[in-house]
Symmetry: C2
Subunit: 232 residues, 2 copies
DNA sequence: TTTGAGAATTAGTCTAGGCTAAAGCCCTGT
DNA sequence: ACAGGGCTTTAGCCTAGACTAATTCTCAAA
């Protein structure tokens, strides 16, 4: 008799654990470690709560914890985090496309739903949408297999003056800012010509396809991730 | 200055509390009290867990607890329970109509989602469905205002032999039984002629609209709720 | 009227996941 | 080289919501 049950039954993580894994993923996406206080701030909990959870998560093999340094995801933790991010982004896409949600309002709703949906439901939504590759904010949606596109994007605030870029992703979830950006026509896929930038962290001035211009303050311009688009 | 804040901010119940309220609602739908052990069995927890929760719920005014007798919902508890039932049934309807779910599989999915969806999402789904009045099992969907239709239904097992009935509601959530019933053509809305019933809790024999007959064992026949349909 | 079975409650414990206060580590600036 | 400041961790506590074991209540039957 074979007593080894190989492809472990899904451990079924708690809501809280899922949130911690997502935070660590986002905080380590540029490489390096996620620190206790960054995680605490992102999840709005006290630092000791993070230390406690990091201990539990490293015992279950989801993260690697270097005391006083920070944490990184193990391959297993990364898979779990990407699964949550896929759920989140598919949900955002579905709510926007199929239920008329505004792109500023989907984040909060998806944040709760992502912990409750089954794999099956997510795949049905993805199917109904035609397997979208980007969510409404332009963020890449991980595949069901756990792969995610990594693009080299540059914040508009750091783009080359005189160049032409395509706004690829809006790195923000605050409804008010998103509403404002949509009003300004600054949504993913738009092509922008970088006309000028004021010194001392001043605004960036861009021209849209229709010839109109926008003055984008530094704070917002740091959230608009672009890829260069020199040729056509 | 008015220090009374009348229409209390929504207290935001926990998942567990929501489940208890639903159980009490279902167990008291015929009037009377819900007993500790019935609730425990329905939620698959130990009786002392129920006693503990009943204490908390009566402190927050959601139920009325008569020690050693049982509990009933207060008007506030009933509103909360009906809200959960509305969510559940709208979700079941949406998953069936819009995402191709089988009626045997929707219950489990809705059971998790009902705790995570917002009011707004439920109303958008209801709207997309055209404000359905019944869920896929034929159960009435409470209105957003908290009203629910109460019909006088009779289990097929207790219907009058020789009479004609319409199958209104299937009172079961087990996927296997639901699949079987669908195969047999026994789904809500179907008209049945009750041809015969074997003695000693034996099966009921019915004829469908297409002239074919079905032999329905007592266990299943108790789950098929019908309304008389004498005239056309 | 009493008694005993069965149901309900109380008592006490456990875990997850928060918190504050206190202690420990690391690194930079003098 | 070391002192101090800022993180991080530990210690200890709290709540919700489970559990088991022990106790108490109720009601029906003798």
């Amino acid at each position: 008799m074979n007593t080894i049950r190989s492809p472990q039954p899904p451990p079924s993580l708690t809501r809280s654990v899922e949130d911690y894994l997502k935070s660590v993923f986002h905080l380590t996406s540029q490489g390096g470690f996620a620190t206790t206080s960054d995680i605490a701030e992102m999840l709005d909990v006290a630092p000791p709560s993070v230390s406690g959870m990091m201990k539990r998560l490293s015992e279950t093999g989801l993260i690697e914890h270097v005391p006083y340094r920070g944490v990184q995801l193990t391959p297993q933790g990364r898979r779990a985090a990407l699964q949550m991010i896929r759920r989140h982004r598919i949900l955002e896409s579905y709510l926007t496309s199929k239920l008329g949600y505004d792109w500023g309002d989907v984040h909060v709703e998806a944040e709760r739903l992502e912990h409750a949906v089954s794999e099956k439901l997510i795949e049905r939504m993805a199917d109904a949408l035609g397997e979208p590759r980007y969510d409404p904010h332009g963020a890449p949606i991980p595949t069901a297999a756990g792969e995610i596109e990594e693009a080299e994007l540059v914040p508009l605030a750091e783009s080359v003056v005189g160049g032409s870029v395509v706004l690829q992703e809006v790195g923000d979830e605050h409804p008010a800012r998103l509403h404002y950006l949509a009003e300004q026509g600054l949504t993913p896929g738009v092509r922008l010509t970088v006309i000028d930038r004021q010194p001392f962290n001043g605004p960036t001035i861009v021209r849209l396809g229709d010839g109109t211009t926008r003055v984008v303050g530094q704070e917002l311009a740091l959230l608009l991730f672009c890829r260069p688009s020199d040729g056509e």
